[in-house]
């Protein structure tokens, strides 16, 4: 499923990386611990987190993630937006909780079938 379809399905707001939405998303990973994401997230997955500071961009780039969904209606720091823009990394916002977003993404991706 493409990132574009997921954005529509989950009603996400696109902050940066808008010309990079044809990426095929394979999976999701939900965590607020950066080392955990470094250790366990798979390439081309969408990262669901409430972290908003600039270090999330480096983690996403190092792990070749498809993008980041920031939950709970939180706003990314200015530095985070700038860095994500430079790297053309999709930074997406949801008003829902990490639990809700994860559950809906899990269903959308047809996991657990």
């Amino acid at each position: 499923m493409t990132l574009q379809e997921i954005i529509k399905g989950l009603n996400l707001e696109v902050i940066t990386g808008g010309d990079n939405l044809n990426l095929e998303v394979k999976d999701g990973y939900t965590s607020d611990l950066l080392s955990d994401v470094m250790a366990n997230a798979q390439p081309a997955c969408l990262w669901i987190t409430l972290q908003t500071h600039v270090n999330i961009v480096a983690v996403a780039k190092l792990k070749d993630l498809a993008g980041i969904i920031i939950v709970n209606g939180r706003q990314p720091d200015k530095e985070t937006r700038q860095k994500a823009q430079e790297e053309n990394l999709p930074l997406l916002l949801s008003k829902e909780t990490a639990f809700q977003v994860s559950g809906r993404l899990y269903q959308l991706l047809g996991k657990g079938k």
């Binding site: 607020d32 080392s35 250790a39 480096a58 983690v59 780039k61 190092l62 792990k63």
Partner: protein, 148 residues
């Protein structure tokens, strides 16, 4: 690269510079991609170098990371001037961390840094002098079968 060639590059990492944290690891990843290192090895190096870089940012005044490439191996050494580690065995335990509350709120301090390095480097050596600094050496074999 021919057999006798070695590529060496040194990077400076500044302590407490959270806004640029991860940039050295990102640069290393780009170098490895450019020279066509297999992605499975790049993934290992990215995890280990990121954790080593973050340790300097969090616990040292400054550090130097040296990347050495030859046709068989990728070597990364990190030497910092900082608080050092009192008990390396304890620091190697998953879940153990001395991160501050502020660092934890940012999602650091999971106590996974050194364990992540150990899991991903084929060879990992660490020495430390409390109050002076820490030295890490990690080696990755380009031929994973040989490493196993």
């Amino acid at each position: 690269m021919n057999r006798h060639d070695e590529f060496i590059q040194t990077f400076t990492i500044l302590g407490r510079d959270f806004s640029r944290a991860g940039s050295v690891s990102t640069e290393i990843k780009e170098i490895l991609q450019e020279i066509g290192v297999p992605s499975s090895i790049i993934r290992r190096v990215a995890i280990a170098s990121y954790e080593a870089e973050m340790n300097v940012v969090m616990y040292a005044q400054k550090g130097e990371l040296t990347l050495t490439l030859n046709p068989e191996t990728i070597k990364i050494e990190v030497e910092d001037e900082g608080q050092g580690i009192e008990d390396i065995e304890l620091a190697m335990q998953e879940g153990y961390s001395t991160a501050t509350e502020e660092m934890r709120e940012m999602g650091f301090g999971a106590g996974m840094g050194l364990p992540n390095i150990k899991k991903n480097a084929h060879i990992f050596i660490i020495t430390s002098s409390p109050g002076v600094g820490t030295y890490l050496k990690m080696i990755f074999y380009l031929d994973e079968e040989r490493a196993a």
